[in-house]
């Protein structure tokens, strides 16, 4: 039985799917969307990217050679987020009779409504911290 994001993304002509609230639907504030350039994807997926910042500063996203400012861009639209069906974190571990009956028709469920996305803009590297750290150990021969 096809379910989840796959069925939405691969919906065949003259067919339909029921969109419903996920059994775990909620605000899920720990889940966020980050908009990235296509060229940053390989580095990000191979764990070469970090988010840095002091508590009193705006966060920056750092790759090996570049720094990007991060900002949250809200939307007034309702962005319904649909995970893939086999996503372990949101997979239904139990299934009662009612759910079994529902699974007979293709369905995709919304886990959360995203309030917006994080966007990045390339900025100059913040070198203050580096200068400060270096100044503590001046070069002497």
């Amino acid at each position: 039985m096809e379910q989840g994001a796959e069925v939405v993304l691969n919906l065949q002509p003259s067919s339909s799917v029921t969109i419903s609230y996920h059994p775990l639907f909620g605000s899920h504030d720990d889940i966020m969307l980050l908009e990235l350039d296509e060229k940053l994807l390989p580095d990000t997926l191979s764990q070469r990217v970090v988010v840095r910042g002091q508590p009193d500063q705006d966060a920056v996203l750092c790759t090996k050679s570049k720094t990007y400012a991060m900002k949250f861009v809200g939307t007034s639209n309702s962005v319904l987020l649909i995970p893939p069906s086999d996503h372990s974190e949101f997979a239904d571990s139990t299934m009662d009779c009612d759910q079994k009956a529902q699974n007979q028709i293709p369905a995709a469920s919304v886990i959360k409504v995203a309030p917006g996305t994080m966007e990045i803009v390339e900025v100059a590297s913040k070198l203050d911290k580096l200068k400060y750290l270096l100044s503590m150990n001046p070069y002497s021969s």
């Binding site: 067919s15 990000t44 649909i82 893939p84």
Partner: protein
């Protein structure tokens, strides 16, 4: 402070999530008291081979299209590694959204029979000889 972006995806294969985007808010009927979990929102339909979709919510019908995102979106989840150490885990990737950017069209259909009509129909049925 440094937050690592981790990824458990195999190679560049990241699970693709979907977005259905509509204008305004989706609300449940005010008299609906139960938790909304598992509650159907609407029916997403692709009437033809074009990337045109309809989304029927209650008696509203929205018409929209599937669009590829100019830039991909990563779905990140905050994970606690220790008491003061947090990481972000890539749990999905979004490349498309089904966008409904026009106002909904009202579906004019036969109104649901009111209670009175239903009762009358039942009464009429009861009167029928077996």
């Amino acid at each position: 402070m440094e937050i690592k972006i981790k990824c458990n995806c195999e190679g560049d294969k990241c699970e693709e999530w979907a977005i259905v985007e509509v204008q305004g808010h989706v609300e449940v009927q005010p008299h609906f008291q139960l938790p909304i979990h598992n509650l159907p929102i609407g029916q997403l339909c692709r009437p033809s081979s074009q990337e045109v979709y309809t989304f029927t919510v209650g008696y509203h019908e929205l018409t929209g299209t599937k669009v590829a995102l100019k830039k991909p979106l990563l779905v990140l989840k905050k994970v606690k590694q220790s008491s003061d150490n947090v990481a972000l885990e890539v749990i999905g990737l979004i490349r498309h959204r089904i966008l409904f950017k026009t106002r909904p069209k009202a579906l004019i259909s036969k109104p649901q029979p009111t209670m009175k009509e239903k009762e009358r129909a039942r009464a009429a049925e009861a009167k029928l000889p077996n």
